[in-house]
């Protein structure tokens, strides 16, 4: 489905996610609706357990909602079966997580190009090299992730999320277990790519300072959006 530049990259309509059954049910997401335009940088903040990760998983097509609709780049995710969803993910969505972002048996280069490899595409050596330079991990391409520092590992996973130039980049507390200096560097990197390739970036964070770098901040509480403020247009 050709998506014109005018359509929003992300449309979420009345999204609910309920865990458990009977008296133990938890509504992780409670009628959430939102729209994100192409090229926006949105941070999501909220206390622990408020449903941030759940939302991100559903946006990324990793998890399915209990009810509601998610449309990414004009494609409604619920219409895709598991396989097409996986293919859609590897082409359209970049995911960055807090922990264990890399596959320990693959080299840095292989980790970096994993979505391409899974797509049976040959990564362009020059492009990989350029990306590695940009990430500051040139020279470590043949190392295993275990041989890298935490900051370096996270940069690799960001590189991986960005390599295919996905329309939508989703990051779940990417600086969660890094020190201040490394955190700052990671955020810089994300911002740089966001600016350079005008990708849409949705970032979950605890850190108000990081949140404030976005153009728009969504606050979640008990599975509901309680605040949606534009910081800078």
């Amino acid at each position: 489905m050709p998506a014109s530049a005018a359509t929003p990259i992300l449309q979420v309509h009345d999204l609910c996610k309920v865990y458990g059954a009977g008296p133990n049910t938890v509504a992780a997401l409670d009628h959430v609706s939102l729209t994100v335009q192409r090229g926006e940088f949105v941070s999501i903040v909220g206390p622990s357990g408020s449903g941030k990760s759940t939302l991100l998983h559903i946006l990324g097509g990793v998890d399915r909602p209990t009810s509601g609709r998610v449309t990414v780049d004009g494609v409604e995710l619920s219409t895709l079966n598991e396989t097409r969803l996986a293919v859609f993910r590897r082409r359209q969505i970049g995911l960055v997580y807090q922990f264990y972002n890399l596959i320990p048996v693959l080299t840095v280069a292989e980790n970096l190009t994993l979505p391409l490899l899974l797509d049976h595409r040959r990564p362009d050596a020059g492009q990989v090299k350029a990306l590695a330079d940009e990430l500051g991990i040139a020279g470590r391409l043949d190392a295993l992730p275990g041989q890298l520092s935490g900051g370096q590992q996270q940069r690799v996973s960001i590189g991986r999320a960005l390599l295919t130039r996905p329309a939508l980049v989703l990051a779940d507390e990417p600086t969660g277990n890094l020190d201040r200096k490394n955190s700052a560097a990671i955020v810089e990197l994300l911002k740089k790519f966001h600016a350079k390739y005008s990708q849409t970036l949705i970032l979950i964070t605890h850190d108000p300072e990081i949140a404030l770098q976005a153009g728009r901040i969504l606050s979640l509480e008990d599975g509901r959006i309680v605040k949606d403020e534009v910081v800078r247009p």
């Binding site: 998983h57 998890d63 996986a86 972002n101 080299t107 979505p115 490899l117 275990g146």
Partner: protein, 865 residues
């Protein structure tokens, strides 16, 4: 219930499929141990029964004076004691010669006397006769028998009470071919033995054949030998060996071999099982890291943490070992059942006593099997248990660090990636995370493949070779009669008439052949390839070109004639006419013949090859045959490029030519030779028999050898069906044992792989979720899991099939030296190996694949662990 016990049970419930697989692995290992121990014991038991049937059920045998025998009998060392001696009576009044012996005490029973009719003699004046004598003399229980003593002229009156098969007492006495009659002996007291009684033998079975018994017997013998110079004694070493007892006189090498073999098999199984078990428990440990860390922070001692693993081993053993023992008993019983017909046939053909295998389950060996399995289980679980004991709270917080990844082990594999895509590459790397475990499993898989294919090849080739040696199979006994006499006509020997119509043959085919003197023919008539191989033959055998004894060229290759050795088959006239299209000339100086233009010869590579168009002869060509100084001309009537299979011969020397002529033509030449030279030709006859009772026929023909000691005559008899039964039994044994072993190794491999793959899955949940988040499709995930397990079988096949093909070729080279047959790979076995290995992989991957289908990856992304 103890909290640790409860925890362990909960953990087991949590990883049910891995536990089940571990239990299966333990059961298979226990089954293999029990199969080796019980199998060995059952085989020993069969051999023991064989030894008893052949030699008798005694441990010690002596000979000497009656006084010595009595001293032994009264020594209290023996549970059973018996004796026998030759008696002077030798003939009946009608002159039929018999040998006569007295048998007493437990000798009847110990030596296996069995009354076919009547009951064994148990009072003086009673006698037993053999079945053959009973037939000849028309004796039956109740008949009266009078024996005379040629020395004294006296005689004894006896009553026949039993008709017997011959029994093991015959092993000791020599009768000079005369039928024995067995008399009842009441006692060995000297004054009760008849006058003139000959050498006295005695047999004893010990109550407890142990070293004390041996020492006592030896001491007693030493004491008695002071007064009895003729005293002599032997142990029944064969029986003692199969009983597993070391006798003072020999048999230790066989016992050593058996023990060594048993120890080797047990070690092999032990290592395999230990590998599997320790793998299972290190996986279990990896899964339990978090729990153990928590236990640790709650104040559990190292021993308590170890207990979590050891308890799991205990539970696995409690279920797995008894199941394995049961399985082994069932498997052995079934195997013996399968082998029974083949061994039954052997037993009947060779009269080897009862060689049949019956399952013997002695509690002793069951206990040993269980103990050995439990020991292996415990020892293998020990190291993971110790590691569990060392788990600290920090390990739990840090999460799982399975093992240090080996960057070198993860490299390469481009081919695998090319063949199976990115999933293949991932699978390969995952499988090789623990490179030692990977290699060990791969090695056992490869070994299974190689064993399976090579064993099948061996069995196949053995049968093929035998089938080639006896094409047509319209006979089951053959005899070859070769007469070298020059003063007598071999063709007219009475033996030939006997061989032409033995009593026990249904059909007889006689095939005479002449192999005498040399043929001279133009060298241009030799096939190109033949000439080539001929040069090689001459070189290989160090022959000069003018070397007189060679059957090779008389002159160099420049000469236009050369000499060859003829092998002339004499066919019945009508067979010859059918082959040649016309009758053969029979004037005694010219022989018409058909060239059998195909044979098997050693090839350039040392193996045998089929040589087609050996000669370039054409109908009408003639060859000069130096029929021992009486020249004969061979005239080619026809050339058969594709002769009947049974006329094709195998030659060492490619310059041997197979020809066929007719009976009339050959006889004319023999007649002329005798008329001109006054001497006779050597004559060679092969006889092919079809018999309903090949054993009888074989016995009948071999006895001719003893009865007709004619000089310059050789008679060899071959019992094809007996050989076939032997070959069949051998191949069956090879197949059953090796296939059984392969099946069990494969099962252990499967358990190992299944554990590795599903635990890997469990340990790498987040990692897998990451892959899915990055766009690995569900199908891709299943493919990766299958390949993670399949890589073992794919690699094992990739290595194992070529290796076993090579081994099969070597086996073929050995076997086809006996009889030539074309090389074929055992395709069936190779296909079975491929299907089996891939099936095992699929089976092993199934638990992980099912688990992946049930648990969507998103759940695993949530947690930090």
């Amino acid at each position: 219930m103890n909290v640790l016990c409860k925890l362990t049970l909960a953990q087991i419930r949590g990883s049910k499929s891995r536990f089940v697989v571990t239990v299966i692995g333990v059961a298979v290992a226990a089954a293999m141990v029990a199969a080796v121990l019980l199998g060995c014991d059952s085989v020993m038991d069969a051999m023991r029964r064989g030894a008893i049937a052949e030699l008798g059920d005694y441990h010690w045998q002596g000979s000497g004076s009656a006084a010595s025998a009595q001293a032994f009998e009264n020594s209290g060392l023996f549970a059973r004691f018996g004796y026998a001696c030759t008696l002077p009576y030798s003939a009946q009044p009608d002159g039929q010669p018999v040998s006569c012996m007295g048998v007493g005490g437990d000798a009847w029973r110990m030596l296996g006397a069995h009354a076919v009719e009547g009951k064994l003699p148990d009072a003086p004046g009673e006698a037993a006769v053999t079945k053959d004598l009973a037939t000849v003399e028309h004796l039956a229980p109740g008949s009266a028998l009078t024996l005379t003593d040629p020395g004294t002229g006296g005689s004894v009156e006896l009553t026949v009470t039993a008709v017997l098969d011959r029994f093991a007492v015959d092993n000791t006495f020599v009768y000079d071919g005369r039928q024995p009659v067995y008399l009842y002996l009441g006692s060995i007291a000297r004054d009760e033995l008849p006058q003139g009684a000959g050498s006295l033998y005695f047999w004893g079975a010990a109550a407890h054949p142990d070293s004390r018994f041996f020492a006592s017997v030896q001491a007693l013998e030493q004491r008695l030998s002071l007064s009895d110079a003729s005293l002599n004694s032997w142990y029944n070493t064969t029986l003692l060996t199969w009983m597993g007892i070391a006798s003072p006189t020999g048999g230790s090498s066989l016992r050593g071999l058996i023990n060594w073999l048993r120890a080797f098999l047990l070690a092999l199984i032990g290592v395999g099982a230990a590998l599997m078990v320790s793998n299972a428990f290190s996986l279990s440990l990896a899964e339990r890291r978090r729990t153990l860390g928590m236990l640790s922070s709650a104040g559990a001692t190292p021993a308590q943490k170890s207990d979590v693993i050891l308890l799991e081993a205990l539970f696995a053993g409690l279920i797995g070992i008894p199941a394995g023992l049961l399985f082994a008993c069932g498997g052995l019983a079934a195997t013996f059942q399968v082998l029974r017909p083949a061994f039954g046939l052997l037993t009947r053909r060779y009269g080897l006593g009862d060689l049949n295998l019956y399952l013997v389950v002695r509690p002793f060996w069951l206990v040993i099997s269980a103990a050995a399995s439990a020991t292996v289980l415990l020892l293998s679980a020990w190291v993971p248990a110790l590691q569990a004991g060392r788990t600290t709270p920090i390990d739990a917080i840090r999460g799982t660090r399975e093992i240090q990844l080996n960057a070198r082990a993860l490299r390469g594999g481009r081919l695998f990636g090319k063949l199976f895509g990115p999933e293949g590459m991932l699978a390969r790397k995952n499988a090789r995370r623990s490179i030692h475990r990977y290699r060990a499993t791969l090695l056992s898989m490869t070994l299974s493949v190689v064993l399976l294919v090579t064993a099948s090849a061996f069995a196949l080739y053995l049968e093929r070779s035998y089938a080639m040696a006896h094409p047509g199979a319209d006979y089951n006994v053959t005899a070859a009669m070769r007469c070298y006499s020059t003063t007598e006509d071999g063709g007219a020997y009475p033996l030939r008439q006997i061989l032409q119509s033995p009593a026990n043959a249904r059909t007889v085919r006689e095939q005479e052949y002449i192999q005498w003197g040399m043929l001279t023919l133009p060298s241009s008539r030799v096939g190109e390839q033949t000439a080539d191989l001929g040069w090689q033959y001459a070189e290989d055998n160090g022959m000069g070109l003018n070397d007189p004894p060679t059957y090779w060229a008389q002159a160099g290759p420049d000469s236009d004639t050369l000499a060859m050795q003829p092998y002339l088959l004499v066919l019945p006239d009508e067979d010859y006419a059918a082959l040649a299209g016309q009758a053969a000339a029979a004037d005694g100086s010219t022989i018409d013949c058909v060239v059998i233009n195909r044979c098997f010869v050693p090839g350039r590579d040392g193996g045998m090859m089929e040589l087609a168009r050996q000669m370039a002869l054409r109908p009408g060509d003639t060859m000069e045959w130096s029929f021992n100084a009486m020249p004969v001309t061979l005239r080619v009537a026809a050339v058969s490029d594709n002769p009947p299979q049974n006329l094709i011969q195998t030659w060492r020397n490619p310059y041997t030519m197979t020809l066929a002529t007719s009976r009339t033509a050959a006889d004319a030449v023999f007649a002329r030779f005798t008329a001109e030279t006054g001497s006779y030709c050597p004559r060679y006859f092969n006889f092919y028999y079809q018999s309903d009772d090949p054993a009888r026929l074989y016995a009948e023909l071999t006895s001719l050898n003893a009865q007709n000691p004619i000089p310059n005559l050789a008679l060899t008899v071959t019992d094809i069906q007996g050989d076939q039964a032997m070959i069949h039994a051998v191949t069956l044994l090879v197949r059953v044992i090796l296939y059984g072993f392969v099946a069990l190794i494969s099962l252990i491999c499967a358990a190992n792989i299944a554990n590795t793959v599903s635990s890997g899955m469990a340990l790498r949940r987040r990692e897998t979720a990451m892959l899915c988040a990055n766009g690995l499709t569900p199908r891709g995930l299943r493919k990766m899991l299958f390949l993670e397990s399949g890589i073992y079988s794919i690699q094992a096949l990739a290595i194992g099939l070529p290796v076993s093909a090579l081994l099969a070729w070597f086996v073929w080279r050995r076997v086809m030296r006996i009889y030539y047959f074309r090389f074929t790979l055992p395709w069936g076995a190779m296909a079975a190996a491929a299907v089996g290995a891939l099936g095992i992989s699929l089976l092993a991957a199934l638990p992980a694949m099912l688990h992946a289908a049930r648990h969507p990856p998103a759940e695993d992304l949530r947690t930090a662990e």
